[in-house]
């Protein structure tokens, strides 16, 4: 209840600075979020905020009083006092007491945040330049999650959607009412996985597995969006997170769907595809997984990301082309896509790269060739 009052007061005070038109709460202040922990953090934030405001009011009050009252132009004569042991002790002791009072709730909350025991769902999160990989431990479900905002939106060629830069192809789905443990690591540089509404932010560090947890209460189903919070290279601003909280029943159905879809995909890879089918699909996959670095038209970017249009690999030996896409290139930003994309997608995108933008290899890479190459 106390925190409600604070919250109302804070919007009033903050509102003083700003016109009502832009005074939506979520734009100005930390979100209260949907978990107990996020609420506790919000309360701590507002408590320390109000302590600072009141200290500021007193200190700046005295200062501005002096500025107005004790000015030479008003004939003020300077006193010559310059010491007071009592005052020095007072303004050492008083802040100490306030800080101790502040440290108590902060410590309690921190201890709760560190208690990752007794989780019912374990999700391993791996950061990659520049996408997130999710593995549901013990459930045989795992996938990569990529930004879906188009290059056209980013470069102002079309209107920006509502969730500009905060939308992905596959949501990380979690059940409500269960304690979820996140095991966070990285495959390359340091990233940080952050979803403000559940107050989870943890660095993803190569060689480490960091732990964090969240329990989203039942009734709080919904989409919660976040972003990478640690500078991780050129597309650091383009690897968002979309967390989808669903009921326990829906979660189980979703898990079954994922497993079924994986089987269907594996079966499909054994089927036949025409060159045209692969080109259409390849264009989609390229826009999602490759265009951010190699350019929408295969033109590359600067000296770091080579052009694919007219490149020796994309118009040359097919086996070499498949190898670099599947296994990446050591010492460069080119990643291994073997685990990130299905066989059909891989075949499609390689076929597309060999025959788009004036490239004229003229051949077709089939999913079966990818399966062989993986072995």
């Amino acid at each position: 209840m106390f925190s409600r009052t604070w919250q109302r007061l804070s919007s009033v005070v903050l509102g003083l600075f700003l016109s009502p038109a832009i005074m939506a709460d979520w734009e100005l202040n930390m979100p209260q979020g949907v978990t107990d922990i996020s609420q506790s953090i919000y309360d701590l934030h507002m408590l320390i905020f109000w302590i600072c405001v009141w200290i500021g009011v007193v200190v700046f009050g005295v200062m501005f009083y002096s500025i107005f009252a004790h000015r030479k132009s008003k004939g003020a004569k300077a006193s010559q006092f310059h010491e007071s042991l009592g005052l020095e002790l007072l303004w050492t002791a008083l802040p100490t007491a306030i800080l101790i009072a502040m440290a108590v709730p902060a410590t309690t909350t921190l201890i709760k945040m560190y208690d990752t025991t007794d989780a019912q769902v374990d999700i391993k999160i791996t950061g990659h330049q520049w996408k997130w990989q999710y593995d549901y431990l013990g459930e045989d479900v795992g996938f990569f999650s990529n930004l879906t905002t188009s290059q056209d939106e980013i470069y102002d060629r079309t209107a920006k959607g509502d969730n500009y830069l905060l939308e992905v192809d596959k949501h990380v789905v979690v059940p409500t009412g269960q304690k979820i443990r996140f095991l966070i690591t990285s495959n390359d540089v340091i990233h940080a996985w952050w979803v403000p509404e559940i107050a989870v932010k943890k660095d993803a560090i190569p060689g480490y597995i960091n732990e964090s947890w969240a329990l989203i209460p039942e009734g709080k189903e919904g989409l919660y969006r976040g972003q990478c919070a640690e500078l991780c290279g050129v597309d650091h601003g383009f690897m968002p997170i979309v967390l989808e909280a669903v009921t326990e029943d829906q979660y189980q159905i979703w898990l079954d769907d994922q497993r079924a879809a994986a089987e269907a995909q594996a079966a499909a890879a054994l089927g036949d595809f025409s060159h045209e089918q692969l080109m259409v699909k390849g264009a989609e996959v390229y826009a999602r997984s490759c265009a951010a670095c190699h350019g929408a038209e295969g033109e590359g970017m600067g000296s770091v990301f080579p052009a694919l249009a007219g490149s020796a690999i994309a118009t040359g030996d097919m086996a070499e082309h498949i190898d670099i896409v599947l296994n990446g290139k050591q010492g460069t930003a080119m990643q291994a896509f073997a685990a990130q994309l299905g066989e059909v997608d891989l075949a499609a995108v390689i076929t597309y790269e060999r025959n788009a933008w004036g490239n004229d290899a003229g051949d077709t890479v089939t999913p079966k060739m990818i399966i062989d190459a993986k072995q």
């Binding site: 004790h70 005052l87 830069l165 190569p206 970017m301």
Partner: protein, 527 residues
């Protein structure tokens, strides 16, 4: 206090040499101080131009002007230049000019080393800036250069960056040694430690911090060099190394570095407020003790920059408590400044305006620092624009306003002419408005969830980003006014008296204005 100034007129052999070689070969603390200050001022415009490029791209969502890769180079170079090229050289420049005058010394204790420590800097920054024109581009991994982004995944220009940092470090260490030796050995008879002006005290403590941590920075970049070129794996997990080790070593340098950039500003403000309040500094001794406490604490709080890296609970708690403690000595300083003003007889010339703005805005930066110290809340604040707002409040209206206040305060002593007070006040108000319009909205977008170091952002952050960009241009272009004021004061203006300011106390105000090329050839006696 007696005035025992050597009134040398320049009879050739005592005066400065003519032409460019005067500046190349000079061992005079005033010449070297001026060169440091001009160097810093030049870097301010270069680093500022980069900030305006960043803010222009962030004016609205979407990529309009530059590519993400160049954006990252700009944030990195902006940070490195402002920290190592602007704030630190400006403080060393002020120390060069003022410490000998304040302690009654004829020059710095080690004048030839003084020349060398300055002349390293243009080469260090020349090398760093030239990387912008290499094929791989400039460093792009942020001024904190976390491994492995700055090692395994770095552009090839990282090697130039490492050597640049080494040179800056050598320069800083030599500058710091010089200041320590000058203060401890060349004080005028009668000037005991507890009679030294606060600027001298804060610089003495700062110099010890520099000597302690610059070698740590040199160590961490050398480890990077080894990882990149000689096959070691200090920071490479795949080779048994530890990326988190990098952050521990970096911030063991980095946190004292934060205080290196603010303690001398505390000293400047502690000189200015008593002068314009016409009242002695309140709590001189407690100011000295508070500064020492801050310096000590700066060594045991580094991991508060790393609350989200997965430290053990106990470590996290220790660093949270230690960090909160810093609020106590910092509070003592603010309370003392306010008490100095209380029942004084204040006037509001430009140095005083900047000093007052320093007290208010630095304190706001201190408040957000206290909020960031609360570890659970830091999980939400960390790496957002809230942090950007915090450290810009302590560095721009903190460190930079402190430097500018000092420049206005001592400019008549340096040039012999008063600066244009009207223009000075205009410069102050434009800077004050600009700095707040730029950085205050960043608190809001940070709390609302905007990560730092991103070239493009979601739509809900658009309004405040646009406002911040407008503020940045106001602030940036106002600094041209300062340049004009300084040049105008060098070329002429109302002649300054020896005392310059009505309420000014200290040895530097007993010598003529402008300060002669050689001062205190005979040491003054301090009672």
């Amino acid at each position: 206090m007696t005035t025992a100034t050597a009134h040398h007129d320049d009879h050739g052999h005592h005066g400065p040499a003519k032409g460019i070689m005067r500046w190349v070969l000079t061992t005079n603390h005033k010449d070297i101080g001026s060169m440091y200050l001009w160097f810093s001022f030049t870097m301010l415009f270069i680093g500022g131009a980069m900030a305006l490029i960043i803010r222009s791209e962030l004016f609205q969502p979407g990529m309009q002007l530059i590519e993400p890769e160049f954006f990252n180079q700009m944030t990195t170079m902006h940070g490195l230049i402002m920290v190592f090229g602007v704030v630190m050289p400006a403080f060393v420049g002020l120390a060069n000019w003022m410490v000998p005058l304040m302690v009654g010394a004829p020059d710095m204790a080690l004048p030839r080393m003084n020349n060398w420590s300055f002349w390293i800097l243009p080469f260090a920054f020349g090398m760093l800036l030239l990387t912008l024109f290499t094929e791989a581009g400039a460093p792009n991994f942020g001024w904190t250069f976390y491994a492995p982004l700055s090692t395994t995944y770095a552009p090839s220009s990282v090697t130039f960056f490492i050597f640049g940092v080494h040179m800056m470090g050598i320069s800083s260490i030599m500058g710091a040694i010089n200041i320590v030796v000058t203060i401890l050995n060349l004080r005028a008879p009668g000037m005991t430690l507890m009679k030294m002006p606060l600027f001298v005290w804060t610089w003495l403590i700062t110099a010890y911090l520099l000597i302690a941590v610059m070698p740590v920075l040199a160590g961490v970049v050398t480890m990077m060099l080894m990882d990149i070129h000689f096959g070691t794996s200090f920071f490479d997990a795949a080779g048994g190394g530890d990326p988190v080790l990098f952050q521990h070593v970096f911030w063991f340098f980095g946190h004292p570095e934060v205080y290196i950039m603010i303690l001398p500003a505390f000293g400047i403000v502690s000189q200015i407020i008593p002068t314009f309040a016409r009242k002695p500094l309140f709590g001189y001794a407690s100011m000295v003790y508070a500064t020492s406490s801050i310096a000590f604490l700066s060594f045991i709080v580094w991991a508060h920059h790393m609350f989200t890296v997965g430290l053990p609970l106990e470590t996290e708690l220790f660093f949270m408590y230690a960090t909160m403690l810093i609020a106590i000595p910092t509070g003592v300083k603010v309370f003392n400044w306010v008490s100095t003003m209380f029942r004084g007889s204040m006037t509001f010339e430009t140095p005083m305006l900047f000093a007052l703005a320093f007290v208010v805005l630095f304190t706001i930066g201190g408040f957000s620092g206290l909020m960031l110290a609360i570890a659970p809340a830091d999980f939400q604040y960390h790496d957002t624009y809230f942090v950007v707002a915090h450290f810009h409040y302590v560095l721009v209206p903190g460190a930079l306003f402190g430097i500018i206040a000092g420049v206005y305060y001592w400019l008549p002593k340096w040039t012999g002419n008063y600066y244009d007070e009207k223009l000075g006040k205009f410069h102050f108000w434009m800077s004050f408005i600009g700095v707040n319009v730029t950085f205050f909205p960043m608190h809001f977008i940070g709390l609302a969830g905007m990560p730092r170091r991103i070239p493009d952002y979601a739509l809900q952050f658009a309004d405040f980003n646009a406002i911040a960009t407008v503020g940045a241009f106001i602030f940036g272009f106002s600094q041209l006014v300062l340049l004009y004021v300084v040049i105008k004061s060098i070329r002429g203006g109302e002649k300054a008296t020896d005392e310059v300011w009505e309420g000014a106390e200290g040895l530097e105000w007993t010598i003529p204005s402008p300060a002669p090329y050689h001062t205190f050839a005979e040491p003054p006696h301090v009672k």
